[in-house]
């Protein structure tokens, strides 16, 4: 793994996963690659973090899963956002904006 790999900020993983799945459906590898893509390679989610998060979110009712066939004609477990998941994405997105805004204000503030 690259040296410049930024550690996933605590609490951002759920947000990234919900966003990466989008309106459609995706399997584990797909989600991992999609996150890499939409963050332009900044975040690489390893299976050791990805799968516990996926299972936890499914248990929380934000995702549902089903078995399907991948592009390579292999069996894969696909995840899809539930209504609760979409709501959760919205909530986390707002929370994230608040944090970003607050951090920006703090860092731009005049130093005394």
């Amino acid at each position: 793994m690259g040296q410049n790999q930024t550690n996933l900020l605590q609490g951002t993983l759920d947000l990234l996963i919900l966003k990466a799945i989008g309106e459609g459906e995706a399997h584990g590898l797909g989600i991992s690659r999609r996150i890499e893509q939409i963050t332009q390679g900044t975040f690489k989610v390893k299976p050791g973090s990805l799968f516990p998060a996926l299972h936890r979110m499914e248990e929380a009712g934000w995702l549902t899963s089903f078995w399907g066939e991948s592009e390579n004609r292999r069996r894969a477990k696909y995840y899809r956002r539930t209504k609760d998941g979409t709501r959760q994405l919205q909530a986390e997105r707002e929370q994230w904006s608040t944090i970003v805004g607050a951090m920006a204000n703090a860092l731009n503030a005049q130093e005394v």
């Binding site: 584990g28 390893k46 050791g48 973090s49 799968f51 248990e59 009712g61 991948s70 477990k77 609760d84």
Partner: protein
């Protein structure tokens, strides 16, 4: 919402464990395979691709373990498995388990029984303000009170809210069959002193104590139920007592007795004058005014009695008065000290049981050092080991607590039938203060705690062995101190 969803997931995970595991395995393998497929498509040779995919995924087993660690219900499952392991440990060493369980059960049973029987409250409202009042003979022995003296006390004292008196009467109750009932004639404030409300009807009114008006009666609840079948129409009916017609005006509340199982109460006619000093046949009970103490009451009654003695030297020279704790009067002299001794005794027994059990567990702990050291060496966290040992302690204490309570129930049921333990006015014998005892029962794992703590320290559990007897002795002492404190 999330909680409910996770709860459901936890139940499903536990119920369909095999399927959940198989799916997890397939899912992770699919991921690795997917990575390998990408590499092959990029021109990497298949064997190398698989190796690199596995390296990227961090291999399958650790990932699966990471998922399991976060899975809903895992904590519960682990706890359950620890519990089963604890049960197996107990079964493997039945002699120890039985000794511990029976020792604690006997201790808990004895304590629950004794405390239930001994510290029974009086059933009257604010019963600690009730006091018996006696006349004392010139030699200091106590005597029942003459009716003239009672009336003077009642009128002149400033310490009792109400002072009441009762005298036993044998009354023939006509009917089929006729019975000789145990009755009491009482003074106006009698029922007020005990703060009683009638079960049915009313108690005596002031004018019913006037001469010639006293042909009214209050029945005991028990007599009403047995003799009159609990008939509510008994009020205003006439019963023949000693051949005279009496009108029933009320029924006393259940279980009320003062002289001992009275059936009928009648109004006592008003004072007979100076002649009444000779006949000392009244039991006198008073309710102290709020804030008045026992010592104050004793002093006041002594002063009053001295005044009476000066006024009527013929009958009362050198007679005095004394008050007595009502509970003691009902339950027997010296009862408080006896109860205290009993309570201390069973408490000491419980302490000894705890100390013995703590030492037994400590001794067993030393034989388990190796097992624990191995578990720690294999990577068990300190909390896991402590939890295991605590769970075993908890199992023992729950089993012994349950058995102890069963013993106590049996003992109390037996004791409740013993007439020697009955006393008028005392609450019935039953397991009371259940909550208090439950807290004791949940506190009983405490003696086992220091032992668990000891083995929770990895360095010690590896280094420590039976060649360090002084340290063991020190821990045993610590255990005993802790159990005494915890108990």
């Amino acid at each position: 919402m999330v909680l409910g969803s996770r709860l459901k997931a936890a139940v499903l995970n536990l119920l369909r464990k095999d399927r959940v595991e198989a799916e997890l395995d397939a899912e992770i393998h699919a991921y690795v395979q997917g990575v390998a497929d990408e590499l092959i498509a990029a021109g990497v040779e298949p064997g190398e691709a698989r190796r690199r995919a596995c390296a990227e995924a961090g291999c399958v087993e650790p990932v699966k373990q990471a998922v399991r660690d976060h899975r809903a219900g895992t904590a519960f499952e682990l706890l359950w498995r620890d519990g089963l392991f604890g049960m197996r440990q107990l079964r493997r060493n039945p002699a120890l388990a039985c000794t511990v369980i029976f020792t604690l059960a006997l201790g808990i049973g004895a304590n629950t029984t004794i405390f239930s029987v001994v510290w029974r409250p009086l059933r009257y409202e604010q019963a600690n303000r009730l006091r018996m009042v006696w006349e004392t003979r010139p030699d200091g022995s106590r005597s029942t009170v003459s009716s003239t003296t009672y009336h003077e006390w009642s009128d002149q004292n400033d310490i009792f809210e109400s002072l009441a008196a009762a005298r036993t009467e044998s009354i023939a109750l006509s009917g089929n069959p006729p019975i000789l009932a145990f009755g009491a004639s009482i003074t106006p404030k009698f029922f007020d002193t005990f703060r009683l409300q009638p079960e049915l009807g009313r108690f005596f009114s002031q004018d019913e104590f006037a001469p010639g008006k006293g042909t009214v009666a209050v029945l005991s609840y028990e007599l009403w139920k047995t003799r009159f079948a609990g008939d509510r129409a008994i009020l205003d009916k006439t019963v023949a007592l000693d051949g005279m017609p009496y009108r029933v005006i009320g029924v006393a509340p259940p279980d009320f007795e003062f002289l001992g199982h009275e059936d009928i109460w009648l109004p006592m006619a008003l004072p007979p004058g100076e002649s009444g000093r000779q006949e000392r046949n009244l039991l006198v009970v008073g309710r102290l005014k709020p804030g008045a103490g026992a010592a104050q009451a004793a002093e006041e009654m002594r002063v009053l009695a001295e005044r009476v003695a000066r006024q009527s030297p013929g009958t009362n020279r050198q007679w005095s008065a004394r008050t007595q704790d009502f509970y003691e009067a009902m339950a027997g002299p010296g009862v408080h000290l006896m109860f205290l001794l009993l309570s201390v005794t069973v408490s000491v027994v419980m302490c000894m049981a705890c100390a013995n059990v703590a030492n037994l567990l400590l001794a067993r702990g030393t034989t388990r050092q190796k097992e624990i050291a191995i578990r720690i060496a294999l990577g068990a966290r300190r909390w896991r080991i402590m939890r295991q040992l605590l769970l075993e302690s908890l199992l023992l204490s729950v089993l012994s607590g349950g058995l102890g309570l069963l013993l106590a129930f049996a003992a109390v049921r037996y004791l409740a039938t013993l007439p020697v333990l009955q006393a008028p006015g005392l609450a019935p014998i039953e397991i009371n203060r259940a909550v208090w005892h439950l807290s004791r029962f949940s506190a009983s794992p405490q003696p086992c705690l220091p032992g668990s703590y000891l083995h929770g320290r990895p360095a010690r559990s590896i280094r420590w062995n039976s060649s360090r007897p002084q340290a063991a002795a020190r821990w045993a002492m610590g255990n005993m101190a802790a159990c005494a404190a915890g108990w």
